[in-house]
């Protein structure tokens, strides 16, 4: 399993559009992907679960990937969150 702490920097936080893009991108990977936020575990492939977690701009989250393509998955997650979803 690999994990990484990340800061959500896009102004709207993980709301509808960025969360949708994130979930769609994560769904391409085979591994299990979890967001840990404020003590809860969120399925990163589910837009509705991400929305329910209500992750705002300025929040710190932990991403955990577990499975065969976990390295590719975590790199994609880091790229998306750290770029603030620019260009997507």
């Amino acid at each position: 399993m690999v994990k990484q702490k990340l800061l959500v920097i896009n102004p709207e936080g993980l709301h509808l559009r960025p969360a949708g893009v994130f979930a769609q991108e994560m769904d391409r990977f085979k591994c299990d992907i979890t967001i840990r936020y404020k003590g809860t575990r969120v399925n990163a492939k589910s837009l509705l679960s991400i929305l329910a977690a209500c992750i705002k701009c300025g929040s710190e989250i932990d991403i955990e990937c577990d499975g065969p393509d976990e390295l590719e998955a975590i790199n994609k997650a880091i790229e998306l969150i750290e770029s603030g979803f620019e260009g997507v």
């Binding site: 102004p11 509808l16 769609q24 329910a52």
Partner: protein, 567 residues
């Protein structure tokens, strides 16, 4: 007259059309052929996606890409693997598709509604919309048709779902009234993008209106006038014409740099008083935060917020501004702002007493905690420190020394911050103005706080109506104070901004341009008006006006001259 919340500015005049809610009706039944029911669900999802794509395309053309994203979001939700697998699980357990959709959607609706975040609560409305439409696709019912409304329709509904709002024939809508919803509802966002006046939160309006009734709404104030008489109608028509004209002029300044007629650059920043205001800076097209009042963090609670809590708020502001300036004023309490847990002694003369930086020097722990939070946030954007109520160089040095000490601590702790963070002085006492040449040597920038500067220069309480004749920015003494402050900054080569109401006073714009002000910090709703005003002056024209004004001896004379010379 009924009142709601104005959510999309403009005056709407027309005839009421009541939108009746049409919830899909189905009978819950048990199923025998699971495979057939799953097939039915897949078909409904497919036709849902296709019809939503069409609506999104229509909305993109009418309102814009961002607004269409709302409906694209519905498609994304529909494709959420968790959503579909949960619905399928219920069907496999013998539930009919309609009931399975209803149960699973309701589960998410209750989760979203329970959050204390407005944006997340809006997702409940999305899910409600999605649920009803998906069930309609399952039972083969039509979506509500809103594309054939008569001209000048004031649409009146309990609530407008995103798909309904998207489906509306915008040409024929003069205004929208809803009982539910607020400023951030999809209906409000789309109404603003299309320039349709809208009032939300008009409780009880559905019982008061009938189809075809004449109505006027004001999307700024939230006023609703039902069956107005001819005299009122005439007034409203006039107001509408004025408003429509000013909007089309101001809209052309959105997203543009702030330039005067010579092409010299200025900035129009925003004053922020709470966390919600930060988003308004972006929607109002502000070029950053010129004054971040931090008192709201300390009010309405039992103890002061700790460093981490403050840090998170400042960091969020810095991130949201995406590299644009965020000027954070250290806590300005005392005077008329009392915070019970801070144990402030009763004073005979609070405005001349232990206020702002003076309070902080007596209670350095509070300032220390705040400066640490600001410094840590400076790693995430162009954060600056602004110190209020400076009257003496020693006060500035106190804050600067503390800042340097904190930098050493943070370095030792391995915490990130901006080594070159700027510290500015608020010029709001006559003393600060008179020693502005001295302060300019040790400050990185000035910010002129006009409300207090007028009050202290004129020695007139702004709340006392008996002396209110003295409280005016057009007093020659106040204008000289502003001019001298700006010239001291210019001589020392540091930038100078103005926050407070005067920065947004269009009569003052030519004077401030002539004096050499760099940045205007105003409320988010005034950004475009001030950007436009600045664009109307050449330096030469502004100088001519300022030169004439500075010869005059009374505020009445000055104000009259400025009104005559206003564009």
């Amino acid at each position: 007259m009924v009142r709601g919340t104005g959510v999309s500015e403009g005056i709407g005049i027309g005839f009421v059309h009541i939108l009746k809610e049409q919830k899909p009706v189905f009978e819950r039944h048990s199923i025998t052929d699971v495979e057939k029911e799953l097939e039915k669900l897949r078909n409904a999802v497919g036709s849902f996606v296709i019809s939503t794509e069409k609506l999104a395309e229509k909305l993109k053309n009418e309102a814009g890409e961002k607004e269409a994203d709302i409906l694209n979001g519905h498609i994304m939700i529909m494709k959420d693997p968790v959503l579909t697998s949960e619905i399928e699980k219920l069907i496999q357990g013998g539930e009919c598709a309609e009931s399975a959709v209803e149960q699973i959607c309701n589960m998410f609706i209750s989760v979203f509604s329970a959050r204390d975040d407005e944006l997340t609560r809006q997702r409940a409305a999305d899910m409600e919309d999605l649920k009803d439409r998906l069930i309609k696709h399952l039972i083969g019912a039509d979506d509500i048709q809103l594309s054939t409304l008569p001209p000048d329709t004031i649409l009146c509904a309990r609530e407008l779902t995103p798909s309904m709002t998207a489906g509306i024939d915008k040409e024929h809508i003069a205004g929208i009234i809803t009982e539910k919803g607020g400023e951030t509802s999809h209906c409000a966002i789309i109404a603003r993008a299309c320039g349709i006046p809208a009032v939300s939160g008009a409780e009880g309006i559905m019982q008061l209106v009938h189809d075809g009734q004449k109505a006027v709404i004001d999307g700024a104030t939230g006023e609703i006038i039902l069956s107005p008489d001819e005299e009122t109608m005439e007034l409203c028509r006039e107001k509408k014409a004025q408003y429509d004209e000013s909007v089309s002029i101001l809209r052309s300044y959105k997203g543009k740099p702030t330039l005067n007629s010579d092409g010299e650059k200025y900035s129009v920043l925003c004053n922020v008083g709470n966390a919600e205001d930060i988003d308004k800076v972006l929607s109002g097209d502000g070029e950053g935060i010129g004054l971040f009042r931090t008192e709201f963090l300390f009010m309405d609670r039992k103890k002061s917020p700790d460093e981490q809590e403050q840090f998170e708020v400042y960091r969020t502001a810095a991130l949201k501004m995406q590299g644009r300036p965020v000027i954070i004023r250290t806590i300005d309490i005392g005077g008329d702002k009392d915070i019970p847990y801070m144990e402030m002694d009763e004073e005979d003369n609070p405005f001349l007493g232990l206020r702002a930086v003076r309070y902080c020097m007596k209670h350095p722990d509070i300032l220390h905690e705040q400066l640490r939070a600001i410094l840590r946030a400076s790693a995430f954007g162009d954060v600056k420190i602004l110190v209020p109520m400076i009257a003496d160089i020693g006060e500035l040095r106190f804050v600067r020394n503390m800042t340097e000490d904190i930098k050493k601590q943070l370095s030792a702790e391995g915490k990130a911050f901006n080594e070159n963070i700027e510290t500015g002085v608020m010029i709001e006492t006559p003393s600060a103005c008179l020693i502005s040449d001295i302060l300019a040597k040790e400050a990185d920038f000035f910010s002129i706080g006009t409300n207090d500067l007028i009050q202290y220069t004129m020695a007139a309480d702004r709340g006392n109506s008996d002396v209110s004749y003295l409280y005016s920015v057009f007093k020659p003494s106040v204008l000289r104070a502003i001019k001298y402050t700006i010239s001291s900054a210019k001589a020392a080569g540091i930038p100078v901004e103005m926050c407070g109401e005067v920065a947004a006073d269009r009569l003052m714009t030519p004077l401030l341009i002539s004096f050499g002000l760099d940045s205007f910090s105003v409320s988010p709703s005034s950004v475009l008006a001030i950007r436009r005003e600045i664009s109307l002056y050449t330096k030469e024209k502004a100088d001519r006006i300022a030169e004439a004004v500075m010869q005059m001896s009374s505020s009445e004379e000055i104000k009259e001259y400025l009104v005559q010379n206003n564009n």
